[in-house]
């Protein structure tokens, strides 16, 4: 029994990471209806940036966030102003195909620079620290930090969306782009800010991913799929929904893996497809209007 509680607890905590994958995806879709196929590869790019920063500056991975987050945000702003803004319009095809091309470019660029070897960020003693919450039930310190950070990120995004001028600009552009433009908003800048914010979240997710497990240039697409599944499970347009979606996905994978190691990913996909079949609007869809 305690074994299963531990498994589910692990699943919930990893769900926080998936929620961070999902939040960045959901954010830019909400603001500019763009689905970024390169999202997963950008997460991996953030992990490599963190690798360079930790090795170059000699700081631990969690402190490196102070540098990795602004670096990724700057990349996001430049990417949107320099490339992705030119793909937006009525037609779905250009943004999809351009971000797909971008995904291939990032993957192969990383392969060229860093080879296919697996890497990992070393966070020191904190990696293996655990504490007991009840008889036989253990929680890792790092997974717990990751989960708390995920909640903070989502709460922060929620606040930003509904309490700040930038959030108001996001919502206005999302509702009606031409009118937002008429009201004096520079939508190119608003979109670039949204992408910068998305990549800032990606940076946090990438660092936690890199501390938790090995990474190499090819693992991006699977992260995109996890994030996407969490978005759909949680319900399109809902930030807190992505957290629930991430947890549902994490727990499904953990239970699948416990039954048979080969079923870890399959269990997650099957739960996703089941929810798509029985509740296509997701568990917590944004209330209309």
């Amino acid at each position: 029994m305690t074994e299963w509680i531990n498994v589910i607890l692990q699943g919930v905590l990893i769900g926080g990471l998936y929620a961070m994958f999902a939040a960045g995806l959901s954010l830019i879709f909400g603001v500019m209806r763009l689905v970024n196929i390169a999202h997963g590869d950008l997460i991996v790019l953030a992990a490599y940036v963190a690798l360079l920063v930790t090795q170059g500056v000699g700081i631990d991975p969690l402190t490196s966030l102070l540098l990795v987050v602004p670096i990724m945000a700057a990349i996001g702003y430049a990417l949107q102003r320099g490339l992705l803004n030119f793909t937006l319009g009525e037609d779905l095809l250009p943004p999809l195909l351009v971000t797909f091309g971008l995904s291939i470019i990032i993957q192969n660029g990383l392969l060229e620079l860093f080879t296919a070897d697996s890497r990992k960020l070393q966070a020191g003693a904190i990696e293996i620290q655990t504490f007991q919450v009840a008889q036989g039930i253990w929680i890792g310190v790092l997974p717990l930090i990751q989960f708390v950070v995920a909640i903070a990120v989502i709460a922060g995004l929620q606040m930003l969306f509904y309490r700040t001028a930038l959030g108001r600009a996001f919502r206005a552009t999302s509702d009606d782009q031409p009118v937002a433009q008429l009201m004096g908003l520079d939508t190119r800048h608003v979109f670039a800010m949204a992408m910068a914010l998305s990549l800032a979240v990606i940076a946090i997710a990438g660092v936690f991913l890199a501390v938790r497990a090995n990474f190499d240039p090819s693992i991006g697409p699977a992260r995109l799929i996890f994030g996407f599944e969490a978005v759909i499970i949680g319900g399109l347009g809902s930030m807190w929904g992505t957290l629930i979606g991430g947890i549902v996905l994490g727990v499904s994978q953990a239970i699948g893996a416990q039954i048979n190691p080969g079923w870890q990913l399959l269990a997650g996909h099957i739960i996703f497809l089941t929810i798509l079949a029985v509740r296509p609007q997701g568990l917590f869809p944004k209330v209309a209007g």
Binding site: I37, F86, L92, L93, L97, N108, G262
Partner: protein, 341 residues
């Protein structure tokens, strides 16, 4: 008044296509072994890209998960040939309808996702297929399996005869796929599809059942892609979940081909495949840089010439190789062009 498909350029085009087909059919008598292999590979990519073009270019269903049906076809070939003793050629023919049958519930599920999220949904389906394939231990599980020599030898007595057989099979299948697409596009449904390609909303308001048509196109594409997949793995003689459901090989390349050649036009994937293979021969030594360059070229074309290279030519000169456009011929224009009313 009547509607005509053919133009002067398409009459020349059809004649050129006929000559090319004759030359290609006779390739075993003029080409070396390597030539035949390369041509057969080119044919499979023309077929895959044409099918993806039908799906994304005409029906607006951007899938990044067509590897699901390539791999499914491949695994069906291996399962039918190894476990049921079916002749490989018959297995290829069976792979089409089975892939179409499986595409029906898949479509019912992923059609719930709109626009760009549909694309990632197709990818999830391909991942599910890949993970399921690696659970099938009689077909090699995660590490894959080779087609037993006895099955290959049973196809034809000599190695040369087998190579000719596979070459003609690849040519025949590709011609069949292209014929299927041309027939579809020249039908009523084709007119509706072209309307959807140009403006979905207008098409809908003109009374076209857009969802139903998209569903039909998705299933037809799965039919063709499954058969081509089976053929590809008959040529490779070895299958594994990672090669069968590879997003790079069966989707990234196919998308680059279509985007470079010209999306939403039947000629695009053919031109694109020729350019793709020339680039591949030229850049093969560069390893992963080659893929990086392909990605950059595709982005540049998408932004600079979204209709692809054939789109530029077609718009500049008004050419079409195959008679697909519809023009209204009235008494006046008939006099001018000399066509009989």
């Amino acid at each position: 008044m009547k509607v005509e498909h053919a133009t002067a350029s398409s009459r020349i085009g059809v004649a050129l296509v006929a000559v090319t087909l004759i030359v290609l059919t006779l390739a075993p008598f003029w080409g070396a072994r390597e030539m035949l292999r390369l041509l057969a590979e080119i044919f499979t990519f023309v077929a895959l890209a044409s099918l993806w073009n039908l799906l994304a270019g005409y029906a607006g269903l951007v899938s990044v998960g067509q590897q699901a049906f390539v791999g499914l076809g491949g695994y069906l070939l291996f399962a039918l040939a190894m476990l049921a003793g079916v002749h490989p050629i018959l297995a290829i023919l069976i792979a089409g309808p089975v892939a179409a049958l499986i595409a029906v519930p898949v479509a019912l599920l992923i059609f719930r996702l709109r626009g760009a999220y549909f694309a990632i949904g197709t990818w999830v389906v391909a991942e599910v297929f890949r993970l399921l394939a690696s659970q099938v231990s009689v077909l090699g599980g995660g590490s894959g399996i080779s087609l037993p020599a006895s099955i290959v030898i049973a196809m034809a007595p000599s190695r040369q005869a087998r190579e000719f057989e596979i070459y003609w099979l690849a040519l025949a299948l590709t011609v069949m796929v292209l014929g299927l697409i041309v027939t579809l596009l020249r039908s009523r449904h084709g007119l509706a599809l072209t309307a959807i390609r140009d403006n979905e909303l207008t098409a809908q308001s003109a009374g076209i059942d857009v969802t139903r048509l998209k569903f039909i196109v998705y299933v037809v594409t799965a039919f063709g892609t499954g058969m081509v997949g089976a053929l590809i793995f008959l040529m490779k003689l070895r299958i594994s979940p990672d090669t069968a459901f590879s997003v790079n090989d069966w989707t990234a390349f196919v998308i680059f081909i279509t985007v470079i050649g010209g999306i939403g036009r039947i000629e695009g994937p053919i031109i694109g495949t020729i350019i793709f293979f020339m680039l591949r021969q030229a850049l093969a030594d560069l390893g992963s840089l080659y893929l990086l360059i392909m990605g950059a070229v595709a982005i540049a074309i998408m932004l600079g010439a979204p209709k692809g290279l054939w789109g530029l030519v077609a718009e500049r000169f008004g050419w079409q190789v195959l008679p697909l456009q519809r023009r209204l011929v009235t008494a006046d224009t008939a006099e001018q062009t000399g066509a009989k009313p």
